[in-house]
């Protein structure tokens, strides 16, 4: 039996088509993927991301303990800021990709992928020094409000002035009377918030956002739109584009790796890899012939398999067949061409600049 989020009844009430995702029953869509995708690009969409996990480091040395586990640097940001980061194994591969919130040097809050909740927590617990992390996953539901109307909508329901809460900043406060961590983050490429709230108040918050947003065209959106939106931004999805066998440098995520940090798990491998240069790179490409690239399709050069597609779709906003995949470094430059094996048919593709979608 899949686990249910606190919004399960709400999804059923709203006609969401429920599927099993990473062991959770969640809506893949409500009215339709493309309509939800477009609503997020032009108005706003609400996503139930309560399945995500949360881990907390608290007490003296919390920042140092968390910082030793992640590639990005909590010492470089201020209290009230968050950072996207890798959590790596000693070989430099991803255990997960996470967002770390710095409440204070003695309070770090980490959001992890649903599929990796148990694995990440066990990893952090066995590798943390000085501070014992606490799994807070069951204490938080999470609603993502994403799109150009998202800021105005959340502000309407919140007495606190949210204007100072810029991208990758957060605060705490009441939204629709529900105490939340209000985080200016997301996974769609649009402006918006991710609201962490007590599970027993998630439904009240969800419907308050929907009611207040209805006039502005705010809609509930499912996992399908979440995936097509993030693909258009070339945001990595753990398990598809990044995993324990690929490093952040190969994934084009060098910006989340701070090699001048004194220490973090995986650093030695990355230092060497950076000096030697990576042999494969995660690129964004579009098909120049009809077809749709999908995860696991082979990437071919001169008839030989040289890489693999990790994500792909027909981008609803960019209106092109787009894909993400690992290719040898020699084929990674913009304009490089190769073929994607679609059911035995080699379909021409070329590397393009990413994100595929640029916010207008």
């Amino acid at each position: 039996m899949p686990r249910l989020t606190p919004l399960n009844a709400a999804h059923k009430k709203l006609g969401g088509r429920l599927v099993d995702f990473a062991g959770w029953e969640l809506p893949v869509q409500y009215a339709g993927l493309i309509a939800e995708h477009e609503a997020v690009r032009t108005k706003a969409g609400l996503f139930d991301v309560s399945h995500m996990g949360e881990v907390e480091f608290k007490g003296p040395g919390a920042l140092e303990a968390a910082n030793r586990l992640i590639t990005n640097d909590l010492a470089r940001i201020a209290d009230g800021q968050a950072i996207y980061s890798g959590l790596l194994n000693p070989e430099g591969g991803f255990v997960d990709d996470i967002v770390a919130y710095r409440f204070s040097p003695e309070h770090i809050f980490i959001c992890v992928n649903a599929a990796n909740r148990e694995k990440d927590f066990a990893w952090m617990k066995s590798n943390a020094k000085g501070v014992t992390p606490v799994d807070r996953s069951d204490d938080f539901a999470q609603i993502a409000v994403q799109g150009p109307s998202a800021f105005g909508l959340v502000q309407k329901l919140c007495r606190k002035d949210l204007a100072p809460i810029g991208t990758y900043r957060f605060t705490t406060g009441q939204v629709a009377g529900v105490e939340c961590i209000i985080s200016r983050t997301g996974y769609t490429g649009e402006d918006g918030f991710e609201l962490y709230c007590p599970p027993n108040q998630a439904e009240a918050l969800w419907f308050a956002l929907l009611d207040k947003g209805q006039a502005d065209g705010v809609v509930p959106a499912g996992l399908g739109a979440r995936d097509s939106l993030r693909t258009e931004m070339k945001y990595a999805l753990y398990g598809n584009d990044i995993d324990d066998t690929h490093t952040p440098l190969e994934a084009g995520l060098g910006w989340i790796v701070k090699l001048d940090k004194p220490e973090f798990i995986g650093k030695d491998v990355l230092v060497k890899q950076k000096a030697a240069g990576v042999t494969r790179k995660l690129v964004g490409f579009e098909l120049t012939e009809p077809g749709v690239p999908r995860a696991h399709y082979a990437i071919l050069k001169d008839g030989q398999k040289v890489g693999e597609v990790t994500s792909g779709t027909m981008g609803p906003t960019v209106k092109k067949a787009i894909g993400i995949g690992y290719v040898p470094t020699a084929l990674a430059a913009e304009g490089s061409t190769f073929h994607v094996d679609i059911r035995g048919r080699p379909v021409a593709a070329k590397v393009v600049k990413t994100p595929f979608h640029v916010r207008g």
């Binding site: 893949v28 869509q29 993927l33 493309i34 399908g224 995936d227 077809g291 999908r294 609803p316």
Partner: protein, 128 residues
């Protein structure tokens, strides 16, 4: 209870294709249920005119934003016509699965296969 529309004058397959008699050829498409389950259709791959298709065998591919599905021929014969409009605008499958969203026309090899297709009541019942 099955949602959607299922015209009475069509025949159906358990793979969610429909077939419609029109003169010498049989028009083929996917049912309302199929397009609903697929979601937004973004790509359709169809055989060339003249291709031989076999009842129950794959004749093409239909892709939604999320998934890839195979298309199965309701009956055997030769492809007489291909809907180029649906290849150019795959959303027609969602908008009008029984009209503008038709896929191919087959010149049937035998009359018996038509009779073996499901009638509307049997098909709708199979949707549960």
């Amino acid at each position: 209870m099955a949602n959607g529309e299922y015209p009475k004058d069509l025949k159906y397959t358990k793979d969610h294709e429909w077939a419609k008699k029109g003169g010498a050829t049989i028009q083929v498409g996917v049912t309302w249920h199929a397009q609903d389950a697929l979601g937004s259709v973004v790509y359709v791959e169809l055989p060339k005119v003249g291709t031989e298709v076999k009842a129950g065998a794959q004749f093409g591919v239909i892709e939604s934003t999320k998934a890839v599905s195979e298309l199965y021929a309701p009956l055997s014969g030769k492809v007489a016509k291909v809907n180029d409009a649906v290849v150019a605008n795959p959303a027609l499958v969602n908008e009008a699965p029984y009209a503008g969203g038709w896929l191919i026309e087959i010149e049937p090899a035998s009359a018996a296969e038509w009779d073996a297709l499901l009638d509307v009541d049997t098909y709708v019942k199979s949707l549960g």
